[in-house]
Amino acid sequence: MQFNKKDILDMASLSVEEINLILDTADQMKEISTRPIKKVPTLRGKTVILFFYEPSTRTRTSFDIAAKRLSADTHSISASTSSIVKGETLIDTAKNLEAMRPDVIVIRHSSAGAPHLMAQLVDASIINGGDGMHAHPTQALLDMMTVREHKGRIDGLRIAIVGDIAHSRVARSNCIGFTKMGADVMVAGPPTMMPMGIETLGVSVTHDIDEAIRNADVVMMLRIQRERQESFLFPTLREYSITYGLNTKRLKNAKKEVMIMHPGPINRGVEISPEVADGPFSLILDQVTNGVAVRMALLYLVLGGARNADPD
C-alpha cells in the first residue's frame, strides 16, 4: 500500500489501512533507535520545521530526534522567539516559512484547527503536534503502537480513558483512533470534565473510575491541569486524587494483565500515584520510546510516499 496523505491532521482523517501502515512502519523504525549508530540516510536533504506555539518537551524532542535519525535537517521555532511576539499572524508566518521551502512543518498550537488552516496555505506536509483541545494524532498513534506491541492487537480490547476528557486532545484522538481500530473505549471522569456529546465519538461514558478500571485491558490516565480548578471542574487536587486518581488500592480490582498509560507530563500523586506510575504495569516510558518510532514512520511516509518520489 502507498501512503498518499499530504498532511497528518487528526485521527478522523486517517483510514484503518493508513493507521495499520503507520504502525507497521513504526515497528520497523523502532530498531534503528537501538543501533550503536542511530542514523539512516533516508531523508537526507529534507527540511523539517518544528513550529511550537505551545510549550512542549516530549513531542518536540521526539520529532527532532525522529527527523535526525532519518538524516533530515530540523529547525525549531517557538512562539516566544518568533515574530508572533511582534504580532505576525499565523497565516503570514505560514507563508513566510513556506517561502523557505521546508518539506514538513510540525505544528503545535493552542487553537483548534490551526494545523488545518496551515495545511491549506502551504505545500509542505503539515503534521499536527497537538492543536488546542482538538487533536494529537501522533500521541494516539504512539499509544496504539504501544498497546499493539504489548497486547498483540487493538481490535476487541477495552480501553479506559480517565480524567479531564473535555480539555484533552489526547483523549479525543485516542477515542477516535482506538474505536476505529476495533477497541471498546470507555471514558471516565466527573461530569464537569465530560464534554457534551462525547458519545458521538463511539465511546461509552461513566463517572465511576472503578467501573472503568474493572474491565479494562488498558487504563489511560490524563493529566489534570491545576488551572481547571478556577473553572470549577473540581474542588481541590486532594479530592480529585482521592476520587479519580489511580493508585495501587484501586488497581487491585483491575484485570491481572492491565496496562497503565499516561501521555505525560504526569502529576505524581494527583491523577496517578508514584507506585503505579513506576510500577510493573506502567508503560509510560515505553510510550515515549515508541513516540520516536511513530514520528520517524510519519516523516518517512509523508516524505517518502508517492507524493515525494524522487525523479531519479
Binding site: G113, L117, G132, M133, P195, T200, L201
Partner: protein, 426 residues
C-alpha cells in the same frame, strides 16, 4: 414627479392585499387603485410594471451594525445603506457599538447626518442603554430621543447590572424608547467560541451553552414584567429562549423578539471546517434549536427577522477560529433566505412581511404602510428570481458570509425610499 407602480400584487398585511396600482407623487403615496384593466391608470412621469411581482411596505432591518464612526474600513454608513437598498431594505436600525459608542446626541446626529448624505436607506439610530455600554450609568435618553434615536441597546454584550436594566426600562418607557436586549450570562458563556454540543466536542472548541442565552432572556423578561415597559429581545437562537418568550407573551408581558436568518437556516454543523464566517454571538445552534426558531416564527413568538449584519474584514476573520471576531453580514442575503420559510410552508408571505416590515416598524414606531398619505417606502420582490450569492459583488464593504455561492430563490428587485428609487433590478 409622479411614479406609477402598475399591476403588482400588493401585500400590506392587515391593510390591503391584491392587485393594485400605486401612484407616488414626490415622496408620498397619493393614490391606490385596484388594477386598471381597461385604462393605463393615472398619468405618471415614470411607470413601473410590477406584473408578477409582489409590492410590499419597505422592509426594515432593525438590527444592523454599521462601523461608522470609528471602524470605517469594515463598513461605512454609505456602504451599509447601499447594501440595505440592494437587499430590499428601506430602513435599518444601527446598533451603537461604534467607536465612539453612540451614547450621546452628538454621535446620533453624526450618524443621521452621514445617512442623509448617503441618501439611500433610512437610518434609525439605536443609542446605548448605558454610558460606553459599561452598565454603570444611564445615557441621556431624553436628548437621544430628541436627536433621533428610536431605541436603546447595549448590544454586543448584555447589561450586566440588573438594577441598571430595571431603571433603564422604567426611565426609557417615559420616552417611548424600547430597550433592545442582548441576552447573555457572561460567566456561563465562559470562553465559548461556538455552540456547546457534539460538534464543538468533536472539533475541540470551547462551547457556549444554550442556557448562557436563555438565562439572560429569563432575567430580562422578569425585569420587563416587573416594570411593565416594553422590551425587545435581540437575536434569539435557542429553543429554551423561544419557550420562555412564548410563556411570557401568554402572560401579557410586553416583550417582543427577533431572530436572524442564519439561526433558522444553519446549525453548528456549518462551523465544521473551522469556518470563521460561521462564527457569531450567539453562535449557530443545533438542529433542535433551528426547528424551535422556525416554530417560534410560525406561531408568532418571534415577531421580527433582523440580520444582525456585522461586517468584519479578512483582518478579523482569516485566522485561527477561536481568535477570529464574531459576526456575519446579512443585508444582501436576508430576503432570499427568509423566503425559504415561505417556500417550506413555515410562514405565509403575509407573515413574512409582518416580520420584516410591519412588526419592526411598530416596535420602533416607524411603520411603513402602503396607504395614501404615507411616505413612499416600499420594496418590490420577485419571488421566482433565482441567483447565486456572490460575496465579492456585495455592496457591503465586508465579505463575511457563510452563504457565498449559495443558489437562492427570491430577490428584492426595487427599493423605494421616500419616493426615490434607490435600487432597481426589474
Amino acid at each position: 414627479m409622479r411614479i406609477l407602480i402598475k399591476n403588482g400584487n400588493v401585500i400590506d398585511p392587515g391593510n390591503i392585499e391584491g392587485e393594485m396600482d400605486i401612484l407616488i407623487e414626490d415622496n408620498k403615496i397619493t393614490e391606490i387603485h385596484p388594477r386598471h384593466t381597461a385604462s393605463d391608470g393615472p398619468a405618471a412621469d415614470t411607470v413601473i410594471d410590477a406584473s408578477g411581482k409582489v409590492v410590499v411596505p419597505g422592509l426594515i432591518d432593525m438590527h444592523v451594525h454599521l462601523r461608522e464612526p470609528g471602524l470605517e474600513y469594515k463598513e461605512t454608513i454609505e456602504s451599509g445603506c447601499l447594501a440595505a437598498a440592494y437587499g430590499g431594505f428601506t430602513a435599518i436600525c444601527t446598533m451603537p457599538n461604534t467607536n465612539p459608542i453612540n451614547d450621546n446626541a452628538q454621535v446620533t446626529r453624526y450618524i443621521l447626518k452621514k445617512a442623509e448624505m448617503a441618501d439611500t436607506a433610512l437610518v434609525y439610530p439605536v443609542a446605548a442603554i448605558s454610558v460606553g455600554s459599561q452598565s454603570k450609568n444611564l445615557c441621556e435618553y431624553a436628548e437621544l430621543k430628541e436627536a433621533g434615536a428610536v431605541a436603546l441597546s447595549d448590544d454586543g454584550g448584555p447589561v450586566t447590572n440588573s438594577e441598571l436594566l430595571r431603571r433603564s426600562l422604567e426611565y426609557a418607557g417615559t420616552f417611548n424608547l424600547p430597550i433592545i436586549s442582548h441576552c447573555e450570562d457572561i460567566a456561563l458563556a465562559a470562553r465559548g467560541v461556538m455552540n456547546e454540543g457534539a460538534v464543538a466536542t468533536q472539533m475541540g472548541l470551547a462551547g457556549s451553552p444554550n442556557i448562557a442565552e436563555s438565562i439572560g432572556v429569563m432575567r430580562d423578561i422578569a425585569i420587563c414584567e416587573f416594570t411593565g415597559s416594553p422590551l425587545h429581545i435581540a437575536h434569539v437562537s435557542t429553543s429554551e429562549s423561544v419557550h420562555v418568550i412564548r410563556e411570557a407573551k401568554s402572560r401579557g408581558v410586553p416583550v417582543t423578539a427577533e431572530t436572524a436568518p442564519h439561526y433558522f437556516t444553519l446549525t453548528d454543523e456549518a462551523v465544521r471546517s473551522y469556518n470563521t464566517n460561521a462564527k457569531m454571538n450567539p453562535p449557530l445552534r443545533s438542529e433542535k434549536d433551528r426547528q424551535a426558531i422556525i416554530q417560534g416564527l410560525s406561531d408568532g413568538t418571534i415577531d421580527v427577522i433582523a440580520t444582525d449584519h456585522a461586517p468584519q474584514t479578512c483582518i478579523e476573520k482569516e485566522m485561527e477560529f477561536d481568535m477570529a471576531a464574531n459576526g456575519i453580514i446579512g443585508l444582501e442575503t436576508s430576503v432570499p433566505l427568509s423566503l425559504r420559510l415561505v417556500d417550506q410552508g413555515a410562514l405565509s408571505l403575509s407573515q413574512l412581511i409582518e416580520k420584516m416590515s410591519i412588526n419592526p416598524g411598530r416596535i420602533i414606531d416607524r411603520m411603513n404602510r402602503i396607504q395614501t398619505g404615507y411616505d413612499a417606502n416600499l420594496t418590490i420582490l420577485d419571488l421566482e428570481k433565482t441567483f447565486t450569492v456572490k460575496a465579492d459583488q456585495f455592496k457591503s464593504m465586508s465579505r463575511n458570509t457563510p452563504f457565498d455561492n449559495w443558489e437562492v430563490k427570491g430577490k428584492a428587485v426595487l427599493t423605494m425610499v421616500n419616493g426615490k428609487i434607490v435600487f432597481e433590478d426589474l
